[in-house]
């Protein structure tokens, strides 16, 4: 019963994330046209659910380039990062997991949540797909954890059960259990676990272990 309710929520979350993969598909098709990339990205940033924090196209190589827009607060703006290797806050595009992963697997990669230090400077989940060409690149989108939280707690069953959405290593994406929150590492024990289809994510309910129950 509990398992079924969790599975329903997991399916809806997987469905929401699938719309982001569709966005990556559009970006792949438009990658060589900067104006088209900007138009697609701006439309994504204006989604009413605020799920997309940033999106765009990044190419590596000796002179990396970013066509990435995000909303720091409200209006979309281009993301600027330090691309000089001698900078203290150097943004080493080629060695970030969200760049390496899709090239290793050749398909959609879901990285995080992680603190995007020197980039957006906030915790995000990043979805990327490899962008063939010379130099090689990626198309991608950052998801806002606060928006995923809104999706989760809008589900009455998630609130009833105190469901926690986390990645396969246990890092919490969003929690409807007030004793846990995004960014914490959940080590269990769990009363119920359901994995999200096509995603390295799971939805769990903790085994209640009394008043002191927290991740940290």
């Amino acid at each position: 019963m509990e398992h079924d309710r969790l599975a329903e929520i997991a399916a809806r979350i997987a469905h929401t994330v699938a719309t982001i993969d569709a966005l990556l598909g559009s970006l792949l098709a438009a990658a060589s046209d900067p104006l088209e990339v900007e138009a697609i990205t701006r439309a994504a940033l204006e989604r009413p659910d605020h799920l997309v924090l940033g999106a765009g196209v990044i190419r590596a190589g000796s002179r990396p380039s970013l066509s990435w827009w995000w909303r720091r607060s409200g209006e979309p703006e281009p993301l600027t990062v330090a691309l000089e290797p001698n900078s203290l806050v150097f943004y080493d595009v080629e060695h970030r997991p969200w760049f390496l992963e899709p090239w290793r697997t050749g398909t959609l990669s879901v990285v995080g949540p992680y603190l995007d230090r020197s980039g957006t400077d906030t915790m995000v989940v990043t979805l990327t797909r490899p962008l063939p060409g010379e130099p090689p690149g990626i198309v991608g989108a950052d998801l806002a954890l606060d928006a995923i939280f809104d999706v989760l707690v809008a589900e009455p069953a998630a609130r009833d059960l105190g469901a926690i959405l986390e990645n396969s290593e246990g890092r919490i994406i969003a929690s409807a259990n007030p004793r846990f929150t995004m960014g914490e590492l959940d080590r269990g024990p769990w009363r119920a676990v359901v994995t999200c289809e096509q995603l390295p994510w799971r939805l769990v309910v903790r085994e209640a272990v009394g008043e002191a129950e927290t991740a940290e």
């Binding site: 605020h50 809104d150 707690v153 809008a154 009455p156 929690s175 927290t214």
Partner: protein, 238 residues
């Protein structure tokens, strides 16, 4: 490409708006209750470390909102003119706009400040200072909400670190305006954990004080998470 990270925005609209929000936070936290008089413009500008022009722009914004009213003449100055109900309405509005990211980020920082502040307070406070804190702690059950907030500040001030105390002030200013929607039960639980923290400083037990501070802040964070889950269940962020 710009090296953005070391240069976070500090000027222009952002600064005016954040000064205005800070004054609103002090009002909602009960530190500037309705009817109370703001310090003079020169004094406020010095306190915030901003130019008189920036402060006047922030006060203008608050006047437009009706938050304060400015009187001219010898007995002139700005007076807080919000309705008492405004405090709760603003807390609800802030909860709608708030997300778990900011709650956790603020909680992590507050925990670090209060834990180290309490540890140093226990190590550095003189016997007479610890006696005063003990008296304050005994009165906590019947204290006002602003007095409860000030107790945090008193503890960190005993660390003899101005920077830690200023950081703690910023943390409780942000928090205070949200705590006004607490139930009596939640208020009593937070005061109990605060009293345990204060008693560790009084004892003095530095390591236990740090641990009690972390427990206290974790309890506040759990309460904030409960409010977020409840508020965001039915309302999209604006």
């Amino acid at each position: 490409m710009l090296r953005r990270a070391p240069f976070v925005p500090i000027g222009g609209r952002d600064l005016v708006a954040s000064v205005a929000r800070r004054i609103e936070d002090a009002i909602t936290a009960g530190l500037l209750p309705p009817g109370s008089r703001l310090p003079s413009e020169e004094h406020l500008a010095t306190l915030f470390g901003i130019s008189p022009a920036t402060l006047r722009a922030a006060l203008h914004e608050l006047r437009t909102l009706g938050t304060i009213t400015t009187f001219r003449g010898r007995l002139g100055g700005s007076v807080v003119t919000v309705e008492p109900s405004w405090v709760r309405e603003r807390a609800q509005l802030r909860l709608q706009q708030l997300g778990p990211t900011e709650v956790r980020e603020r909680g992590d920082l507050h925990s670090a400040i209060l834990a180290e502040g309490a540890r140093l307070a226990a190590a550095r406070a003189t016997p007479s200072e610890r006696e005063s804190l003990a008296a304050m702690c005994d009165a906590l059950g019947r204290a006002s909400d602003p007095d409860e907030l000030r107790t945090h500040l008193e503890i960190v001030t005993l660390s003899q670190s101005a920077r830690l105390a200023n950081a703690e002030l910023e943390a409780i200013l942000w928090l205070g305006g949200l705590l006004v929607v607490r139930t009596d039960g939640a208020r009593a639980a937070m005061r109990a954990s605060l009293a345990r923290l204060a008693r560790c400083v009084v004892e003095p037990a530095p390591a236990a004080a740090a641990e009690a501070a972390r427990t206290h802040v974790a309890g506040i964070s759990r309460w904030l998470n409960e409010q977020l889950i409840e508020t965001h269940a039915h309302q999209r962020r604006v």
